[in-house]
């Protein structure tokens, strides 16, 4: 692909997949309430229009710079995450030798940006959401880094294309069975959905997003979807062989795998309840973190 086509594919992938998640969410909500979904495909667009027509809100003495920047930075981080994903063997927007480390930086900066978003509004519910998010978001990030390092081991490289190449024989999801499930939790945490929604949950009246409306809210909600797209595309690439697959062209395989991972993520976010932050912290540090260690040791032993 030429750079222009590649950039357009990247934009279309982000927007299209974000719309796809919104549609899935709408269908799920309708099914749960036992009603017929109304215009499920156009509904996300109506919602965009509705949000845009809202007056934008202002709190008393916010840190205006950080408050305005946070949604855009969050969306930008999601975009950089997707840029790491190769659409086929020769077409990747950010062909970095250390792609996995870059993804780690995206995760780390996401925690910073979400914290700043809640902190800068100068409102208590936002602040509580911000603190809770940091407490949960950082250890979940550690878990994801361990499973990603494990996935990089058989490839003997930190570059994402090399990790795909190493999966010609066997996908990482089979070679390292703990990796994908643990990585999916990161997706829920990075975009704070369902059981990992500690930043913008209903018990905090939307938490870090409790004070925003209008364009800022539109960008924020889009960024949450885009971040889920980025994690799903990364999961499909690192654990499910990315563009590898018979008959169909590479980009289509990536699209299909990402779509399947997203169905899984949407189901997880609607099926599981959120537990209190302190209990979730115990679960993360006592159960999930050791599982990530086992995954890493397993990968190391296999690589030996």
């Amino acid at each position: 692909m030429t750079p222009i086509v590649l950039t357009m594919t990247w934009v279309a992938f982000l927007l299209g997949m974000a719309w796809y998640i919104a549609v899935l969410d709408g269908l799920w909500a309708a099914a749960r309430e036992g009603r017929q979904p109304r215009a499920p495909l156009a509904n996300p667009l109506y919602r965009c229009a509705t949000i845009l027509r809202q007056q934008s809100n202002l709190t008393e003495a916010p840190d205006l710079l950080n408050w305005r920047l946070a949604p855009a930075l969050y969306a930008g981080l999601a975009g950089t995450g997707v840029a790491l994903v190769p659409f086929s063997s020769a077409s990747v927007l950010a062909d970095l030798e250390v792609g996995i480390v870059w993804w780690g930086a995206v995760e780390a900066l996401t925690v910073v940006v979400v914290f700043l978003h809640g902190w800068s509004a100068n409102s208590q519910l936002g602040l509580i959401g911000a603190y809770r998010y940091v407490a949960i978001g950082l250890p979940v990030m550690l878990i994801s880094m361990f499973v990603l390092i494990a996935a990089a081991l058989p490839a003997e490289s930190l570059a994402v294309p090399k990790i795909i190449e190493s999966q010609h024989e066997l996908w990482n999801v089979i070679r390292q069975p703990l990796g994908l499930p643990l990585f999916l939790l990161l997706g829920l945490s990075l975009s704070f959905r369902g059981p990992f929604n500690y930043a913008d949950s209903a018990d905090l009246a939307d938490g870090t997003a409790s004070e925003i409306s209008g364009a800022a809210r539109l960008v924020w909600e889009f960024a949450r979807l885009a971040m889920l797209v980025a994690t799903a595309a990364m999961a499909a690439t690192v654990f499910l062989g990315g563009y590898l697959g018979p008959v169909l062209p590479g980009p289509l395989w990536l699209l299909l795998k990402t779509a399947v991972v997203l169905v899984l993520l949407v189901a997880l976010s609607h099926l599981f309840a959120r537990i209190s932050p302190s209990r979730m912290l115990t679960l993360i540090w006592i159960v999930l973190m050791p599982l990530a260690f086992i995954d890493l040791v397993w990968a190391g032993l296999v690589a030996l």
Binding site: E97, V101, V112, F115, L116, L158
Partner: protein
Amino acid sequence: MSVVDDMAFWIFALTAIVSGWRVFCTDSMVRASFLLLASFIAVGLIMLLLGAPYLGIATIFMMGVEMMVMALFMVMYMMNPAGLNPMVMVHQHRFSIGAGIAAFVGLAAVMLVTDFADNPVASDARVVTDLGKELLGDSMLIFETAGVTLLATMVASVILSSRSGRFGPADEGSVPPPLEPGGQPAGRLPEEGGGHGHHHH
């Protein structure tokens, strides 16, 4: 080096210096932490330009986590709820001005005196692989000793500093300070017996 690279270098260099300087002018611990993060990100991007991708991105990654944790811990251990209350970020003015000037002169002297290497690395050199071999080969003992020492220091300092809480020693049951000198502790007092069912007489 192309013009784009040159421009990028100057933009990042300027960002690093200006945001580093603003750290000391802001009045909030959270802002100070993240201004420092901005400075480090700019330095990390300069390292990318210098052809050290692992070190550059690892700097951004590590500093992101570190500044986040630092901001949170500073707010936790200081009398400044949420870090939004204005607060002076500098102290020991005379000493710090002296230390600042000494450090600047020292580093500038090192920069002027040192004979920097001038042999550009070939573009196909496997710098990340070489770095990995170095860190986990000859330098492994130094690297691991430093890492474990830092971790032990962090754990120990948290344990030591968290005993004396804002409202008294943590292991004796902390009590909020009184609103008037010598008065009752502020806030709701724990009830006798403590259990449920005693409230409804």
